[in-house]
Each structure stands twice: as C-alpha cells, then as structure tokens.
C-alpha cells in the first residue's frame, strides 16, 4: 500500500510537470510574432530585501487609475460579453462574476485626449475592445495587440 501510494504520488508530480512543460513548449512554438517592449510598458518589479528573483509586470492603465471615459463599453457590449446586467441592476452589491473576454491593448496612445492632455504617461491602455478575437481586424495593426483577460463589471 505504501509503495504503491508513493509511486502514485511520484507519477502525479512527474505527469503534471510533463503536461505543464509540454503546454509551455507548444505555446512558445507557435509564436507568430515578437513584440519589442520597453521598460515603459514592462517595468521591473522592485525586489524585496531577500528576493533575488527578477520579474517585470505589464503596466496597463485601469479605469480606477485614470478615470477615463469608458462610455464605449455600453450595455450592449457588456451583454455581448456575457454579463447579465438586467439581474445586476436591482442588486448593486452582487454584481455579475468576472468572466474571460478578449481585450485589446494600445501600445502607443494618440495625443490630444482628455482636453489635450495625454492620458498615457506610461504603460498600455485598453482601447475599445471586443468579446471575440476575430473583431481585432478593426484595430490598428501597428499599435494594438489583442489578448485574453478577465473583465469585471464595476459599480460606478
């Protein structure tokens, strides 16, 4: 019993790592293009006193940081993303659960927004997004990248 249990445990460790590493290899093998990013978009995370690890994080601006105009993300678009707004409205304390959706990130922002003041001091800003990846054909190919992310409806 002990020996077989131990072998099952070892098999779980080996198999799980095998599956993860195969998926990583598969994911990296089908890269269609490489995006060169600067420290503006990918700043280094400041390490702790006993941390020698190096990590960067994708810096993208959020509604609660910049107070931008998100009126484009209207009721119809949210419903297209799968949020049940009719149910959320009578009970703002229990908003719909977050769900995966495709969004686009704009790597360079045009000037002149928000009364001439540039909104993107650093980082990426989500631009008008689409729930389906195929919709990215409407985006500007030189400035935007589409990715999967988790969207939450905020009570504003």
């Amino acid at each position: 019993m002990r020996r077989s249990g131990l072998l099952v445990a070892a098999a779980v460790v080996v198999l799980t790592n095998g599956v993860v590493l195969l998926e990583v290899a598969h994911n990296r093998a089908r890269a269609v293009e490489t995006i060169q990013m600067m420290e503006r978009e990918l700043p280094l995370t400041s390490p702790g006193k006993e941390d020698t690890g190096i990590s960067v994080h994708l810096h993208w601006l959020r509604l609660d940081y910049i107070g931008s105009d998100y009126s484009w993300l209207d009721r119809s678009k949210l419903q297209e993303l799968g949020f049940d707004l009719a149910r959320a409205k009578p009970d703002p304390l229990h908003l719909p659960s977050p769900r995966p959706a495709f969004i686009a990130l704009e790597t360079t922002a045009p000037h002149g927004r928000n009364g001439g003041k540039r909104l993107l001091s650093r980082g990426l800003e989500p631009t008008p997004k689409y729930p389906r990846a195929s919709s990215q054909s409407t985006l500007q190919p030189d400035r935007t990248r589409c990715c999967k992310n988790i969207l939450t409806v905020a009570d504003t």
Binding site: R2, D51, H94
Partner: protein, 352 residues
C-alpha cells in the same frame, strides 16, 4: 482476544487494559473482589506482556504522561512542518535570481520527488510516522510551489486544474501512510477543483467561486456521501475526516447563502432564496444530529449541534436585533440557552 489490527486498535486495547487494572484495584480496595496471589500474578503478567507487545509493535501510549507527550509531539510536528515549508520557500526566494531557467525547472520538479524519497526512508525507520507526516507536508507545499512558480516562470494563466493535481498528491500520500491532515488537504483541493470547474462551466472566471456558494455546497455534499459509500478497512479514522471536511463545506456554504440569496443560481428573488436556504440549514443541522446519534458518531453530532445553535442564534438576530433593546436581546438568548439545557437534561434522563 483478537489481534490488534492497527495502531488505533492497539491504543484502544491498551486504554481498556489500563481502565480494567484501575477498576480491579478499586474493587479490591473496597473489598468487593479478592484475587488469589496466583490469579493476581497471572493477570499482571498477562497485562504487562500484552502492553509490552503492543508498545513494541505499534509504539502506543500506555499512560497519561505518554499521551500528553504524544499530543505535544503532534503539535511540534505540525509547527515544524509549517516552519520547514517556510524555510524551503524563503531559501529559493533568496537564491532564485542567480539560477538559470533550466536549473530553476529542475529544482522545482526535483524538490517534491526528493521529499517523496525522504518520506519513504523515514517511514521505514519509525513507527509513529511523526517525521513522515512532517515531510509529507513539505512535499505537498513544494509541489504547490512547483506549479505556482512554473506558472509565473512561463507566464501561464491560472487554472483550477492545479487543484486536481495537488489534491491527487495529498490523497495518495494520505492513503499511503494513513495521514489524516494530508487527506483533509487533498479533499479541500478537490472540493476547490470541483467548485471552480462548475463556476467555469457557467461562463464566469473560476476564481469567483467565493461568490457562488452553491458549487461548494454541492462539492461538500458529495464528500459526505462518499464517506458513506467508501469502505475504509485499513484507515478507520478516515470517514471522520471525510465527514468533517464535507459537513464544514456544506454548513459554511449554507451560512453564506443565509444572507446572500443574490449569489445563488436559483431563478427566484434573493429574499425567497435566502428563506429557502435558511430552512435547508435547519433541516441539514437536524438531519446531521439524527444521523450522528443513529450511527454513534459523536463528532458528527457535535458538529450538527454547533451548526444548529449558530442557525438558531442567526435567526434570533434576524428577528429581534433591530427592534429589541440589546440588553433584552442578550437576556432572551441566555434564557433560551438555559431552557435548552433543561430540555437536554430531561432527554438525557429519559435515554438513560
């Protein structure tokens, strides 16, 4: 007398022998029973031989001092396990940056495998399995770290499937060595995987399981049902762990839904859903107490009684907190507690 089939049985038998010797001495003191010197010698020789045999084979506690020490050892092993897990984590945290990617992957995969080998080694050299249990916790923690760090290293999206793997490892080790803590950890991992998968199937992001208590409720109920269906001949204490984890999941979910009807999948008004789940909570508590009494499961009875009391007090708060002066509210609660005690006393006398 049948052979003791495991350490638990051996401990029960040693306890019974101890009680028998105490009672024998008591009866002799009160001159109710008088053994001849031959009978006394025979009894003492038998008990001593049996206790020595049980101690040699199962490393059991034969007196109260040993029992207290064993409890202390269990606490120390749990704390030691936690400290070792922290040490492993902080060690890699400190030197991680200077190790190349291939080395990092090798360390991440190799650490739990090395731990498994250490478990195998220690289990062959100890009967109590304190160190084996402690290393088991380290193995589990290193496997969690393994998948989490691999995910960060290669930028993988978090997934509930990791809980399936973590649970499988914990359950395999729990069953292999009869370790209840790892069994409980494994069940919690599989409960999380089950609940998160249902949430994912509903279209939401899997991490929002906390806002969908019904998924946890269903998983907890499944664990309780499994404890009834699964036979544990070798690990007699395991069904108790199944019931504890399953019932706690069910009760905590019902308590969440008590005031959060809007988090339900049911297509009714939130207030109506809350009332439905309040009724279900009382029925579940009463059923747990009844089933516990019927099958002589003291832990289940206590858990059911505790949940019933919490439900009762929550209902009192719902009914009276807003309009009753606070001192009257607590006076009424105290009076009800005294009333319940008197009722239980009467039932206890009737059963005796």
């Amino acid at each position: 007398m049948p052979e003791a089939s495991g350490r638990t049985d051996a401990q029960v038998r040693a306890d019974r022998l101890g009680i028998f010797l105490d009672e024998l001495a008591n009866l002799e003191r009160q001159q109710v029973l008088a053994l001849t010197p031959e009978q006394r010698a025979s009894v003492e020789s038998f008990t001593e031989r049996t206790l020595q045999d049980l101690t040699h084979r199962y490393d059991i506690d034969v007196n109260s001092s040993q029992k207290q020490l064993s409890l202390g050892m269990r606490i120390v092993s749990a704390l030691g396990g936690l400290a070792l897990c922290a040490a492993v984590f902080l060690f890699f945290y400190r030197f991680w940056g200077v190790i190349p990617t291939m080395g990092q992957v090798t360390i991440l995969v190799g650490t739990p495998l090395l731990g498994l080998a250490a478990m195998h080694f220690t289990s062959r050299h100890e009967r109590t399995l304190y160190f084996t249990g402690l290393i088991g916790l380290v193995v589990f923690a290193s496997f969690v770290l393994n998948l989490v760090v691999l995910g960060q290293l290669f930028n993988r999206i978090s997934s509930p499937n990791a809980f399936l793997a973590w649970g499988a490892l914990a359950l395999a080790l729990g069953y292999a060595y009869g370790l209840r803590l790892l069994l409980a950890v494994g069940l919690i991992c599989w409960l999380t995987f089950f609940s998160a998968t249902i949430v994912s199937l509903s279209g939401a992001w899997w991490e929002s399981i906390y806002s969908r208590p019904e998924c946890v409720l269903l998983g907890g109920a499944l664990i309780v049902v499994t404890s009834i269906g699964l036979r544990h001949r070798k690990h007699e204490a395991f069904p108790g762990t199944y019931r504890l984890v399953g019932l706690l999941a069910v009760f905590l979910s019902l308590l969440t839904l008590w005031h959060a009807g809007a988090d339900s999948f049911l297509p009714f008004e939130p207030k109506s859903i809350e009332r439905i789940y309040q009724l279900i909570a009382f029925i579940a508590a009463a059923f747990t107490i009844w089933a516990g009494i019927k099958h002589h499961l003291s832990g289940t009875v206590n858990l059911g009684a505790a949940f019933f009391t919490i439900c009762l007090y929550l209902k009192f708060v719902d009914w009276w907190w807003d309009w009753m002066p606070k001192y009257v509210f607590f006076f009424v609660i105290g009076a009800i507690a005294i009333g319940l005690l008197l009722a239980f006393r009467r039932v206890r006398s009737a059963i005796a």
